[in-house]
Amino acid sequence: MTIRVRYFASLREKMGRVEDTLVYEDIATVADVWRVVSTGQPLPDHLLCAINLEYAEPLATVRDGDEVAFFPPVTGGMG
């Protein structure tokens, strides 16, 4: 299956790239996706995850064609 993986803000800078495309058969969850793109690291507690533009938990199931995103805590608004 094919998964598009996107990174934002400080994580994007840390990864050194804006996205990856994974073509793997053994990815079941968001945490699995992270393990692949981070070469084996566990998913840090503070990172947030989304599947297809909606927040997702690390153990949420990933399906063929999904867009998975990882990003630091959000800081919009002001005041």
Binding site: F8, A9, A50, P73, V74, T75, G76, G77, M78, G79
Partner: protein
Amino acid sequence: MTVILCQTEFSPYAEMDAYQQSMGEAAGRYGATSVFVGTMRDLNLGDAVTQMTLEHYPGMTELRLGQIVAETQARWALIDVLVIHRVGEIKPNDAIVLVAAWAMHRGAAFEACRHIIEELKHTAPFWKKESIRDGERWVENNTEG
């Protein structure tokens, strides 16, 4: 209900005026409008900030803001809601976000407006990078209300 992501400077009170002019039949029905405007400050964590870049997640941002407004409209009796959020390069004293809620009575207007800005700050995928004297830095924590 209108949600706008804005790439360039906007004037929050001119937007309010224009939006109300276009509300048509709602005129005369609302007795209470609660407006929140978030503005870029020139000082953060003790450092002078000369510029800011607001990154976001196109697609998810619009979806999340729409969900926040819809959930707020389901919870309070509102006549209309307007949300405008800047993205991109921002200068001190520029408006960053406008949230407005129109209702018959002030309780609903105030509570809905506050709810939207809190949800937006904690769940909408925006990230701020500040330019300070020594370079740039990501804002890592949201201010408490």
